[in-house]
Structure formats: C-alpha cells, structure tokens
C-alpha cells in the first residue's frame, strides 16, 4: 500500500538523481519511506537512495516493492510546476500508480519488479580520505575537465584536494586547500574516474551545499549528499579506472 503527496520539484530531483544510474528501478517502500539501490548495466556506478517519510507532505505505506520506468515518470513530471503537489496512490491489484499533479491524473503502468535487475551487493570499502565541499565547486571542476578529456583524477596530497584532467595536449587542475573546503580528513588518495559518469552525477549534486567525497588510492569514490532538507540522502559509488595486471 502506498498513498503519498510530495512537492513536484523534490520528486523530480529525486527521479533525476536515480536516472543517472538506470532507466528502470525497483522502489522499496516501507513505513519509514522509499529506498532504492541500483547499479548501472556496466557495473561501474551504483546509486543508493533514500527518501524518508518526513520528506512527504503526506505519507502512508506498508511494505512493498514496485518497478518504475524512470523515463516515463520524469516525462510526466516535466509538465508540473515547481510548487505543485504530486499525489500518488498505488493500486496493487492492477499494478498501476495513480498520479495526480496540477489537475492532471495519470495512470502509470508499473513494471514487474522481477524483470528489473536485483539490488546489487555493495562492496565494503575502506576509504581513508574525506573531502566535504560545495556542490557547485565539484561541478565547476568536472565541467572544466570535460572540455579537454574524458577522465579526471581526484586526490589529496598534504592538505590540498585536487581535481585534474589531462587531454592529449592540454591539462586543467583545480586545487582546494583546507580553508576553501568545508571539511577535510587528509590521507593518501588518488584515483582516476570516467567523466561519462561524473558529469551526470554532479548535476543532482550541484544543488547540494555540502557534498562529501570519500576516496582512496585506485579505489572507488563515494559521493554523498542530502536532499529534501535532510529528509533524504543520495549516495553514488563509482568504480575507478585502474591499470589492470
């Protein structure tokens, strides 16, 4: 069972954050809220998403799982105003989600969850370095890197966090000292990542005042930020590019 109402922009942002990883997801619904764990088809990026009941204007649910085509839902949310309220109600028998927004009522057919990839196993990683920065700074570095390369190095040396991209001939580097960062737990970290994924990830992260990056050496990066004024959280785990043996 699910009956809920939520701000249209918040829902739109949530869907966009998930769409970075996959097109189809399994929503796990419980009394506490909605959560999703998904991995992209290449097994390179994972998204761990949660939106707690407090994020909703109205929320009533029992435990269940539904399959959603994110493209469809983001298309229909495209027509909503930022301030609209989206009302949702699940019809479990017909496996349809009734969505009411801005005077329009949609009946959205759900996907059979068993046809969607199961929740991925999340690797247990020791990521010694933590960098907390503004989402805008991260996005700026990624944008600059995109111009000259398709991958970007992220690391910490001494008390400086750096992001660097090298093209065939050119190079761009952004350094941020302890005073420019919100917080820093220094250590040994340096890993290379595909911009294919980072470019998408920084779009939703852009709105967050605080983005936490957890890093290691030739290790995945964990990118965390809050949504819905702390009533929700998005985490991305991205595998690095490494020299194979």
């Amino acid at each position: 069972m699910l009956k809920a109402a939520i701000n249209a922009e918040l829902l739109k942002d949530s869907i966009a954050a998930l769409a970075v990883i996959v097109d189809e997801v399994r929503f796990k619904i419980s009394q506490e809220g909605i959560s999703v764990k998904a991995v992209d088809p290449a097994n390179v990026a994972m998204g761990i998403f949660e939106l707690r009941a407090e994020a909703f204007d109205e929320y009533n649910a029992d435990e269940c799982e539904i399959g959603i085509d994110l493209n469809k839902i983001s298309d229909l949310l495209g027509l909503a105003d930022k301030t609209d309220t989206v009302k949702m109600e699940l019809d479990e028998n017909s496996q349809k989600l009734l969505i009411d927004v801005g005077g329009l009522s949609y009946t959205l057919s759900l996907l059979d969850p068993s046809t969607i990839r199961a929740e991925p196993r999340v690797p247990q990683l020791e990521l010694p370095v933590k960098v907390v920065l503004n989402g805008l700074d991260l996005r700026r570095a990624v944008k600059a890197s995109e111009k000259i390369s398709d991958h970007m190095l992220m690391g910490v040396s001494d008390d400086t966090f750096y992001m660097e991209a090298k093209g065939d001939t050119d190079k761009v580097r952004l350094e941020m000292g302890r005073d420019q960062l919100i917080d820093l737990k220094s250590g040994d970290a340096c890993s290379l990542f595909s911009l294919d994924y980072l470019s998408e990830i920084v779009k939703p992260a852009n709105k967050a005042n605080e983005v936490t990056l957890s890093l290691g050496r030739d290790f995945p990066i964990l990118i965390d930020f809050e949504i819905a004024n702390g009533a929700g959280k998005v985490s991305y785990l991205l595998a690095p590019r490494i020299e194979s043996d």
């Binding site: 097994n43 390179v44 995945p220 595998a239 690095p240 590019r241 020299e243």
Partner: protein
C-alpha cells in the same frame, strides 16, 4: 555455471588447429564440460551465433557500437581502435591488444570484492540478450554499457572472443558439421542419430542438450515442432538435368516459380509464416494467413511453398514486388490489396502431429493434396502446384518452356523416392533454368570492407557506358564472387585510382578497370543513375582486354531488360 574462460580456451586452441578431427575433439571436450543449461548457448556460440537462426532474434550490434563500448572500457579513443582494426583486420585481436595495453581500464565493482566472480557463459549470453532487446530512448547507451561490462569483467583473452561473438564472427572455423560430430563424440551417440535430430529441430543447441541429458533415447524423441521453423530443403543447379532424369528413370517435374520461398505453420486457427531465411514474416502477410486458415484442412501442418506476387490478371510480377510484401511493416493491408499473392505449395513436412519428412516425395504429395483445398479469390490463390511424373525428356523440355513463357524461373526436377532433407542441397532436388548472363562494367566506386576484409576494398560500384555523353552510369555494387587473393589484387589496383571524394562510405574511383559481372536479373531502380540495378551480381573476372569505353553500353542493359520482360 561454466566459466567463459573454458570457451575462450577452446577457441584459442582450435584457432591453431587445421585438421577437423582435432577440432572436433576439442569441441566435444568443451560440450562435455559445460552444464546442460548452458549447452544450447555454448553450441550456438561456437558456431558464431548468439541466437539460433530460427528464433528470428537479431543481435544487432554494429561495429561503431562495439568500438564505442571498447573505448569506454579501455580508455582508448574510438579513432585509435579503428586504426588498430585496420592493421589487425580483426576486432577480436584489436580488443585483446587494447585491453592488454598498460592503460587505465575502467574497473567494475567486481574488482573490489574479495572473491572476484568469474564471467560465466550464461552471463555473456544474458548481456548480449539485454543489449539486443532494449529499445527506445537511451537504448544505445544501455547496449554500450552491457558490452562495456563484458569487456571489463573479462580477461583480454576472453574479450577477444566476446568482441568477435558480438559481431557473430568467431573465426574458429567451426560449422554445423563439426558440431554435429562433436555432439556425437561427446555424448557417445551415432552421428546419423545426431544428424537426424538436427534435421527435425533445426537447432543443434537443443540437440546437444538432449544428447547430454538422455543420450540416444532423448535424441530419437526429438521431433518437428509446430511454430519452430525447419530448415528448407534446397536444390542445386545441374549441368546436365537430362542425364540425371535418365538416372532416376522417372522424375517429378514442377515449375520453379519466380517468387519467394515460404514455410507455413498452421496450428488450429493460428498461422505462422517464415521466409527462406526462416524469419517470421507472418505480420506482413495477413492475406496469406487468411487463405491458409480457410483452405488448409488440417488441425496442424507444416507446408513448403513459393509465394508469387501477381498483377490483376494473375501474371507474375518481378521478384522485387514479393519482397516488398515480405518486408512491409506498415499499411500492410493496403499493400496486400495492391500486390496480391499466389501461394503455390509443393511439399509437406508435418501433418496432424505426425512428422512426414522421412516419407518419400510421392507419399508426402498425397498427404499434401489431402489437406489443401485449391482456391482462387480475385487474383489471390492457394494451390498445390502441378507435378508431372515422367521420364520423357521431350515432355520435360516442353514443361520447361511453358514455365519460362509463364514468367517463371524454370523447372524443378525431383527424385520421387526422396525424403525431405532439411537444410540440404543435394541431387534429389535439381533445378533447370536459363544460364546467367554477364555484363562488362566499369568500376567507378569502392568501399572498405568489414571484419576479415577490414583493410581491403570489399565492395565495388560498377557502371555501364553511355556513348552519347561519354558518361558512366552506375548500375550496382558487387562484393561476392571475389576470393581473398583477388581481393588483395583488386584493392591494390583500385587504390591507385581512388580520389578523395566519398559519399556514404563509397569512394570515387577513376573509371579504368572493367569487370565481368554475372547476375540473375536486371531490375528498374531509382537508386542508380542508369535507372537499372542488377539482382545477385557476382564478380567473374577482370576484363584486362577492355578499355572502359568498351564496357557494355546502357543500350545493352536496356535490351537485356526487355528480353526478360518478353519471357513474361
């Protein structure tokens, strides 16, 4: 589940073997090792296919998609991958080299688990299946990511064969014959039993799994199934049909219709139609479905026949008209009304739950006649074709000319005692038709080949001459009939004549070289500036003795075309 590495190791070993006995032994070893669930996939993989041909499923992965996935997996640019394909001439070798290089490859999460899982044969299949099934918005991206996953989850050696499989071109020289023998060897059954099981199922994967699970007994139980197409029995051209008829004493003579081969499956009220390539064409041909439903009086049946497009008077139209019907996806009904079809049935393989392919032709014929009701509605018709059993060569000659006059291709000469052998081209079905003509045409364009032909010019645009204007008018492209040695020689010759200009991959070539080209028919075509196109063009040789101006003029093309029409 079996590791894909087992498969890759087998490929690597047989690539180096030239003898088929040793190849068969290695394939048998692989088939024995693989678990029964994965046996059908493995059997198809080793024959360079991902899906069985009859399933109608297309993998649909092109080279550009594959290069993109390899680029994302390795970090190497698409340009450098393309360049490497040119040098190696092989996507597999390219993938191996690229992923082996000391470059930072994309890692997957599997790397960060304590035990990195091995890539299994079924996972490779699953990823291919996903890539083939996804459609719509963002589907290109999903295809690329699934392939990228495979490249990043495999060793470079495995990646070599994944890349080749993605293009369904494994290049290990394993065909149906080897696999059939390998199944027999692996599961200790006689080759003839495997062969027969293959003929009736048209799927060596199913055969292999049955052999592993139940041996001889399971294989003998396999039968023809309705809605799973059977390989068509094929005919061969005989240089001396008369001698063959004398050998047979009496032969069954039928017209060889100028249409498209079709296999009809009827099961109660449901009808499925398959093309010569065993593609499902049911949706394009509702009129045929309808006429079969009405006039085939059987609970279930599999029939073989030829569909012929006709005009209002019932005269056959050019072959391309029937293809228009087969390929139609939209406005199907409208096309059905404007291009009526005659269905000529000439064989039956299955009737009311019983397999008939082991019966002699004459017996099958009786069964066919017993369940098909000939009918004509407007120009549409369904009929069992005329068959004459005779040893009289004059009569055969007479039937042959009647067929040609009626606008058809010639005659079929069949052994009345022969069984229906799916997929076989043999002496039991012979065809007699007029010899192909040839034209001498000038090379005016060339395209780079793919795969094994990647660093060679694989296709040549040819043109006839227009003396009045001294222009060369294009009439078609030819790429078949050229052996590897000739292809190298032609590439060297043509490279020197190539200008820089390119339209859709076709490079302009200075008109100097004359090819002798055989073909089956000339068609009207808006695609070439001559206004004509060749059907089934085939390279015969270079006419070194001819200058481009001595090539056949467009007037000769017109003449051949109108002679064809007179035959109608």
């Amino acid at each position: 589940m079996t590791s894909f590495n087992e498969f890759a190791e087998t490929c690597k070993a047989i690539e180096k073997i030239s003898g088929s006995i040793e190849t068969t032994r290695r394939v048998a070893e692989l088939l024995r090792k693989v678990e029964v669930e994965e046996l059908p996939l493995t059997t198809h993989f080793i024959m360079s296919e991902v899906f069985p041909a009859w399933s109608g499923k297309q993998l649909g992965i092109g080279t550009s998609l594959l290069y993109m996935a390899l680029s994302k997996a390795s970090g190497a640019s698409v340009k450098s991958i393309e360049a490497l394909v040119r040098t190696t001439g092989d996507i597999g070798e390219t993938a191996l080299l690229i992923l082996k290089e000391k470059r930072k490859n994309q890692a997957t999460f599997s790397t960060f688990f304590e035990e990195e899982p091995e890539l299994s044969i079924s996972e490779v299949y699953e990823r291919f299946r996903k890539a083939s099934e996804v459609s719509g918005k963002g589907s290109q991206n999903v295809k690329i990511k699934n392939l990228q996953y495979l490249f990043n989850s495999s060793s470079p050696r495995e990646a070599k064969y994944i890349a080749r499989l993605a293009l369904e071109e494994l290049r290990v020289g394993v065909g149906e014959g080897v696999v059939r023998d390998a199944i027999a060897k692996a599961f200790d059954v006689r080759v003839e039993v495997v062969e027969h099981a293959y003929m009736v199922t048209n799927d060596l994967g199913i055969v292999a799994a049955a052999a592993k699970e139940g041996g001889l007994e399971a294989l003998q139980k396999l039968g023809i199934e309705i809605n799973r197409p059977i390989k068509l029995m094929l005919s061969q051209i005989s240089p001396d049909v008369e001698a063959e008829i004398r050998d047979m004493k009496e032969a069954a003579i039928e017209w060889k219709f100028d249409g498209a081969r079709i296999q009809v499956h009827k099961n109660g009220d449901s009808v499925m139609l398959f093309s010569r390539k065993l593609e499902n064409v049911t949706n394009s041909l509702p009129d045929l479905v309808d006429i079969v439903r009405k006039h085939v009086k059987a609970e279930s049946a599999i029939l073989d026949g030829e569909a012929v497009a006709v005009d209002e008077k019932g005269k056959p139209r050019a072959f391309q008209e029937i293809l228009k019907r087969f390929r139609r996806k939209y406005d199907v009904e409208e096309k059905a009304a404007s291009i009526p079809i005659q269905l000529n049935l000439f064989d039956i393989m299955y009737l009311n739950g019983r397999t008939l392919i082991d019966l002699p032709l004459l017996e099958r014929r009786k069964a066919l006649l017993s369940c098909v009701e000939n009918s004509v509605e407007n120009s549409r018709s369904i009929a069992v074709d005329e068959q004459v059993i005779t040893g009289d060569l004059e009569l055969v000659e007479k039937i042959y000319h009647e067929a040609l006059r009626a606008g058809h291709e010639g005659i079929m000469v069949k052994n009345p005692e022969s069984v229906y052998s799916p997929g076989k081209r043999g002496k039991n079905w012979l065809k007699k038709k007029p010899l192909m003509e040839t034209l001498d045409l000038v090379v005016v364009g060339a395209e780079w080949g793919f795969g094994r032909r990647a660093n060679l010019l694989g296709s040549y645009t040819v043109a006839c001459y227009e003396p009045d204007t001294s222009r060369f008018l294009r009439i078609g492209k030819v790429g078949t009939g050229i052996n590897d040695e000739q292809l190298k020689e032609l590439t060297d010759m043509v490279l020197g004549l190539m200008g820089g200009e390119e339209v859709k991959g076709v490079f302009t070539v200075r008109p100097e070289i004359v090819f002798e080209i055989a073909f089956e028919e000339i068609q009207k075509s808006p695609n070439y500036d001559s206004g004509y196109a060749l059907r089934f063009p085939r390279f015969i040789g270079i006419r070194l003795d001819k200058s481009p101006e001595e090539a056949d003029p467009v007037q000769r093309v017109e003449r051949v075309y109108s002679q064809q029409l007179k035959r109608l």
